[in-house]
Amino acid sequence: MSKYTLYKNARLLDPASSMDIKGELLTKNSKIAALGEKVDTPDEATIVDLKGMCLCPGLIDMRVFIGIPGADYKDTIVNTGEAAAAGGVTTVCVQPNTDPIIDTIPHIEHLAIRAKNALVNFIAMPAVTKQLEGKEMTEIGLMSRAGNRAFTDCSSTIENAAIMNRIFKYAAAFDALIVPHLAEPSLSNNGCMNAGALATRLGLTGIPTAAETIILERDMRLLKSTDCRYHASQITCADSIEVIDNAKNSGLRVTAGVSVPHLSLNEYAIEDYRTFTKLSPPLRSEEDRIAVVNALKDGIIDVIVSGHDPEDPESKRVPYELAEAGVIGLETLLNVSLEMYHNGSMELLDILSKMTSNPAKIMRLDSGVLKAGAPADLCIFDLSTPYRIDPEKMVSITKNTCFDGRPVQGRVMRTIVGGESIYQYDS
């Protein structure tokens, strides 16, 4: 027997169709059955009154690190799923730097088995090169045929231009998306924060923005002779934005993303050597942060990611330059991004598109939209009530958030995956 649920009195927000109306949405089993101002509802349907809250497609996070397998002390797949659910994220794209590294079909299958009972959808983004070494290609063809769309060496740069060139050419034949790490190692290897006056004052070695832009420029040059799809997952500076803009204008199949911390914090968040602000790439200057927000608004940047990366306390309770880079972010993806709505920088639908329809398009997913027949992966949130981010109330096992105490507006009230409510906010 089919199971129906009606979500009524909702503010339906669908970026893909630019819909922002008061209405209701009906799910049938794991799919969306109908939506509109008024929909025909079977008598047996469960009715959920949303009392005017926002309902949008479940968020898709294109950059999530997990500790499983290999580093179970950092998190578990169950916990990542719970954190995602609490953040309104219904699909997480898993980075391959687990132990063992996800670089073959059996490793992808292993992840699928372990994630089978997780609350949200786990999609592997397998490695581009074996063991993330930047030397030999992984089986991009076979993995693509098996349904994997995006490949990344997550935090390692493919240094060798000839290898990168071959990867682009080869991947293009399978419509595979290549998601590179952008940091010229000779400029970034010893650094731990943005290069500039603040780094000088703190006595920390800086990473110039050129480290990012140089690799990006190289890749754009190489892409010109192929038809490869390319996604720069974390753009942090004005110079890189110019490169992406030019590439898009010249017809290259390039998209770009930015992480929430890079949108909402600048290098001064480091203040007293707070290791929870150490990121790769590092937080940049205020000018660069503003440039990134503008690029997001102008559509040069397509995607917002959390960059969720759990690190255990021992990796963070050390001097800044010795600390591991990375912050958790699944539970601060939506609420911190909504700052750009509340401060008038961006339209609500536009912000949501960067976490729903755009990543769905890039990752070739059928979710990320509100339409009949699409998966009933939904996020219900309260847009306005203010509160402070409290790490102790977070679901993530590790608490390495860079938003401790930050005042935000926008709380995920309910998350639905495949028609099932998997999370409900409980004050």
Binding site: N190, A197, G203, L204, R317
Partner: protein
Amino acid sequence: MSSAEAPFPHTHLLGIEGLKEAEITQILDLADQYVEQNRRTNKKKDLLEGLTQINLFFENSTRTRMSFELAGKRLGADVINMSTSTSSIKKGETLIDTASTLNAMRPDLLVVRHGSSGAVKLLSRKVDCAVLNAGDGKHEHPTQALLDALTIRRRKGRLARLSVAICGDVLHSRVARSNIHLLNIMGARVRLIGPPTLMPTGADKLGAEVFHDMEEGLKDCDIVMMLRLQTERMHGAYFPTISEYFSLYGLDYEKLAVAKEDALIMHPGPMNRGVEIDAAVADDLTRSAYRNKLKWGWLCEWPALIC
């Protein structure tokens, strides 16, 4: 614990940045008093009697560690030295574990040197006693800057309105950073001289004028502070050859001629003769404060310990 008129308002001394002019003056005045004390046969005082001072050095040091040891002992404290080679730090114990172990021994003062910027500050948050930064990474080395200030003040009578040129490897130097802060606070004019590759990004925003031509930078200055080329910190080539470096940035009489006639030459030591400084200049007692500095080296450690 302070013997000065007003109590020193900080628990720790982690850096010069953030100190006020009056606080620096207070430390320097105190140091001045100890110059006399140092000349007596009985050099001991009992200001720190009964207190335990631990010198915790994660980085090799001879002079700074000895200075602190001497200062602590002459003030009556029980001084214990701990360095990485004799501790369990090499066995993978973290900085914070070390801190809590030491804290359990209830020391009154920790003097800490560490190779990572910010490490001493991190440690200071995890212990209940006062912490004194004896150098952290490329960040600060406050007592060295205080010592330099004392030397200048005793020779020139003041710090305000003096032109001070800091020359050489500013990029890797914590001493330079502490000095820039201190001299700015005290109203001196700071110039930085060195090849662009040894000048940190944004150095001009720290309150200093940057020069890449040594003679231009040395013109009419009152103090020439030479920095040691920290070859052990250099991961790559920052300049072509030692001889080119010496010829462009080594201090010799010819370059010194454009500075004021009575310009004072300083060097934190140990000197690389023929690299950043000409041997004849280095040994010129009328111009160089190097020996004085060695003699007074521990004097600034004293008030720093007392405050």
